[in-house]
């Protein structure tokens, strides 16, 4: 029995990154609370390294898999199954129409207990399921490819059924760290245990999935392969996006509090269906005491020292950074750049980056450091450069600013808010870095030059950075806010009998 059950998807403890670090700091920062973690992955893989050590107050850890189906032998189609099936079909149709209050019916009829009338075999192979899929197929206007329809139906629904059958650890509060499948599981917990459910979103899950879905090549496209721009909706991509969108709205409906890291995201959440009164912003935070004391040089280095701190994956757009360095070497041939961050998450991409460095002859200028501890790198650089294509609220910007390092970043996520200020009082502190368009190598190079050639501006921005982080982005504040959230939630109702 734990106090807080964190429900995660694709992050801590297997992936090194902003969200994982946030989770890790949260657990460590609230040592009086007992945490449990459910981690949702697609499939069990042979061995996965734990990238983080478990804090002492993490008392329970479980993995659950979306696509690892244990399909048992079927029982006969008894009247109990028939009744369950009828109720389910009705609840399903209600849910499709947006009536989220039909969800508890779903959670009641599909569960992992022995007395559940329907099992995975029924949902995968039985005739009623087949007839149901056919009836849904015939409702669709236009006649999409049947084989794709059938398998998409399975691919979309079976993981959800799998989650409905997952046993939940007992906890006083359930806290999902994204919508999507984690949010779905959290909603199940909310409905089954009647304990409060919190949601914290770093990035907006639905939007991130939208990007991936549009880029994916394996989803069958119903559109004719022509170059013309059409407004015809692409059936299967639509279906995927609608499903994720629905999962978000479900989580928003059943969450008792919806948190996110910055205001722009909060507005996006409301746009995606979150009740405005439930939403709140609790920004990321850093531990000032550790960062403030990192020794910083008195002046700027010549040639400049530029730091890139992030995972070497396509979404961080390391290649643009490399190209920026190339442009800057025209002015500063001995420019030094370090890329700090794990290189093992997307090895082909990392190799491409290395290849790019070699072909641009930047071997003397750029070094890949691999995974490093945050505090070890901030003594070295003049500037932090962020070239990501998509971000939430990068911790590295906060850390750099806390050390007195200005930042040049692309205009994604909360970067602008962090560097230019959010509320008017925050803006009054002045900018702590420069914002450029995404992928704009020239603009990035220009901004870096501006800062490096203008020591007064640099000093002003460094100072603004420290002030901003001190005022609004301290980890102590974050931990205090979550502590009070958890305590309120734990006291909300009497605990369910064991």
């Amino acid at each position: 029995m734990s106090d807080v059950c964190l429900i995660l998807e694709g992050t801590f403890p297997f992936v090194v990154g902003g969200v994982s670090a946030w989770v890790y700091d949260l657990i460590r920062g609230l040592p009086d609370l007992k945490f449990s973690v459910i981690h949702i992955s697609p499939m069990p893989t042979t061995f996965r390294e734990l990238k983080y050590e478990f804090p002492k107050n993490l008392v329970f850890f479980e993995e659950t898999y979306l696509f690892d189906y244990q399909i048992e032998k079927r029982g006969s189609w008894s009247w109990r199954k028939r009744r369950a099936w009828k109720e389910l079909a009705r609840a399903y149709r209600d849910l499709l129409r947006g009536r989220m209050n039909a969800f508890p019916t779903l959670a009641r009829w599909i569960h992992g207990g022995i007395d559940c009338p329907l099992n995975l075999h029924d949902f995968a192979h039985s005739e009623p399921t087949w007839k149901f899929i056919l009836s849904q197929y015939h409702r669709e206007k236009g006649h999409p490819s049947f084989i794709d329809y059938f398998w998409t139906w399975r691919l979309l629904h079976l993981p959800l059924i799998q989650l409905l059958r997952t046993p939940l650890p007992e906890a006083s509060v359930y806290h999902a760290v994204s919508t999507g499948y984690a949010g779905f599981l959290a909603s199940i917990a909310r409905v089954r245990t009647q304990r409060p459910m919190l949601l914290t979103e770093h990035g907006i899950y639905t939007r991130e999935r939208k990007m991936e879905i549009f880029q994916s090549s394996w989803i069958h496209s119903e559109l004719p392969k022509s170059l013309a721009i059409t407004t015809t909706r692409d059936f299967f991509r639509d279906w995927w996006i609608r499903t994720f969108s629905w999962m978000s709205r479900l989580t928003y409906t059943y969450a008792d509090a919806i948190l996110t890291l910055f205001e722009r995201n909060r507005l996006l959440q409301i746009e995606e269906g979150a009740g405005a009164s439930k939403t709140r912003v609790i920004p990321n935070g850093v531990v000032l005491s550790r960062l403030r004391n990192i020794p910083r040089p008195g002046g700027l280095h010549v040639p400049p020292r530029l730091l890139f701190f992030g995972r070497v994956v396509p979404i961080k757009d390391v290649k643009t950074f490399v190209k920026v360095i190339k442009e800057l070497t025209v002015i500063w041939p001995n420019l030094e750049a370090r890329i700090a961050g794990p290189t093992d998450e997307d090895v082909p991409y990392y190799q491409e980056c290395e290849q790019l460095v070699r072909s641009l002859q930047l071997g003397q200028n750029i070094r890949f450091l691999g995974r490093v501890e945050a505090e070890t790198v901030y003594a070295w650089p003049d500037l932090l450069v962020l070239t990501s294509i998509s971000e939430a609220q990068p911790l590295v910007i906060l850390e750099a600013n806390a050390c007195g390092i200005p930042v040049v970043a692309t205009d994604v996520g909360a970067c602008r808010e962090l560097l230019e200020g959010a509320a008017p009082a925050d803006r009054a502190l002045g900018p702590s870095g420069l914002i450029t368009p995404v992928g704009d190598v020239a603009a990035l190079a220009r901004s870096i030059r501006t800062l490096m050639e203008n020591p007064v501006l640099y000093k002003r921005m460094a100072f603004a950075g420290r002030q901003r982080v001190n005022r609004s982005y301290r980890q102590e504040v974050l931990l205090a806010e979550y502590q009070s959230l958890y305590e309120n939630a734990m006291e909300a109702q009497p605990p369910w009998p064991a």
């Binding site: 995968a124 399921t129 899929i133 794709d148």
Partner: protein, 458 residues
């Protein structure tokens, strides 16, 4: 690895009479060849008596050939469905080099089992050791031949196959009659056995040339046999059903003991003869399946994958329906004609083949039974084509059990009821199979999609 189907389709494309004739003769040969030859031998060698073979010897010979045939069918038939399925899996994965070593392994496996079973069976018989040895040899030779027949559809060279059968048959007869003139029973048997061995050897040679391999022999098919245990059960039940009525007659008051064999020539000869009339069905069916039906069948599965809407898939399913109906109509027509003709001329046939006139009513019923059995056989093959293993099990179980029960009943009821057990059993199995197949084809898309196992994402 195109094999016979390819060849048949090729020939069927040509619009000449000779080509069509070739197609049918070839199909008849590879589907019924050795079995027909064996039965013909039964008649020729045992009933037509040019050499100086006395009645006891003649009867013994009849028994030995019947028993050798029965045992060899049963011992190969029980596992060959599962083994053939294993081969099909290898062909699908394009692991053609597995086929030949599997053949050798399977032969070893069967021959070992057959030797043990055969030895245990012939030991207590009151015959000379040499005769027993010849009988055993015949049993093993036939078992070999049936195993090699499994692979026959991989060969395209029907000239070679025809030669093998012809040489074996003619040679066997010649040797049997020639040797038997002076030497009597054992040598006749040997001669016949030798003929079958020649066929087996020639076919095996052709197979070895056709299929390449890296290893000489392996037993990797054994786990497959365990995996397809339903098919093993189907094999056992089918052959049990096929022989149970004859065995019941052998052990009944109407049977007799000859040299230690329990036999009932009255029943057996009528049945064997009647079953010869199944040849048209089996031939026609093989031709139709490999040409017309297979195309519609393959097209359906292709359409499923081709990103068509449901209506398109259902349209190609209708083509399967049509093809099946066409095939069955064809078989009903031709087989019906042949069977009717035979029934009508039962008396002349009995006279022609020196059978007992008292067998005429039995022969008539048996011919009708053979007609129904040929239909049942066709339905069983189709059921297996669609991989409806449980349905096949139900059919063969119905066949075996009803044959057992009904034949016992007819033995109690006396001579006028003979044959109705066999007829009834075939009919039962046919009904079970037909109803299930009809339902399965009607719901084909349900089986194609919803029954697909959900395999882990690699």
């Amino acid at each position: 690895m195109a094999g016979i189907g390819f060849r048949l389709r090729e020939l069927a494309q040509k619009e000449s009479l000779w080509a069509t004739l070739q197609v049918h003769i070839y199909s008849a040969m590879i589907s019924s060849g050795p079995w027909v030859i064996t039965i013909l031998n039964l008649f020729i060698i045992s009933l037509w008596n040019p050499g100086a073979m006395d009645d006891v010897d003649r009867a013994t010979m009849f028994c030995m050939i019947s028993y050798a045939m029965a045992f060899s069918f049963v011992i190969t038939g029980t596992v060959s469905l599962a083994f053939t399925r294993y081969l099909a899996d290898q062909v699908y994965q394009e692991k053609y080099e597995e086929l030949l070593p599997a053949l050798n392994g399977f032969l070893l496996f069967i021959l070992t089992a057959a030797s043990v079973v055969g030895y245990l069976f012939v030991r207590p018989l009151p015959l000379s050791a040499f005769v027993k040895f010849c009988g055993l040899l015949l049993f093993l030779a036939l078992s070999c031949l049936w195993v090699i027949m499994i692979y026959l559809s991989t060969l395209r060279d029907y000239v070679a196959i025809t030669t093998a059968f012809a040489l074996g048959a003619v040679g066997g007869w010649a040797l049997a009659l020639g040797l038997g003139k002076g030497g009597g029973l054992a040598l006749r048997l040997l001669g016949f056995t030798f003929g079958q061995l020649v066929t087996a050897a020639l076919l095996a040679l052709r197979l070895f040339k056709e299929l390449g391999a890296y290893t000489a022999v392996h037993f990797r098919f054994l786990p497959a046999i365990r995996r397809y245990s339903t098919l093993v059960a189907v094999g056992i039940l089918y052959h049990a059903g096929f022989w149970v009525d004859k065995v019941l007659f052998w052990r009944s008051p109407y049977g007799m003991r000859i040299s230690g064999f329990a036999i009932c020539p009255f029943y057996d000869t009528a049945l064997f003869f009647a079953q010869l009339t199944m040849i048209p069905t089996i031939t026609l069916f093989l031709v139709h399946i490999e040409t017309h039906f297979f195309e519609t069948y393959r097209e359906y599965y292709r359409e499923c994958v081709r990103k068509l809407p449901l209506a398109g898939i259902l349209a190609s399913k209708i083509k399967i329906h049509q093809s099946l109906r066409q095939g069955l109509e064809l078989i009903l027509k031709y087989q019906g004609a042949v069977s009717l003709l035979a029934i009508a001329s039962a008396e002349s046939l009995v006279a022609l083949f020196h059978l007992d006139p008292a067998q005429i009513p039995l022969l008539r019923i048996a011919l009708l039974g053979a007609f129904v059995q040929s239909l049942m056989h066709v339905i069983l093959i189709l059921v297996l084509y669609f991989d409806l293993q449980k349905v096949a099990l139900a059919m063969t179980a119905a066949f075996a059990f009803s044959n057992f029960l009904l034949t016992r009943l007819t033995i109690e009821m006396g001579v006028p009821a003979f044959g109705y057990g066999y007829l009834g059993a075939c009919f039962c199995a046919l009904v079970v199979g037909y109803v299930a197949l009809d339902r399965a084809v009607a719901n084909l898309e349900y089986y194609t999609f919803a029954k697909q196992p959900i395999l882990p994402v690699a």
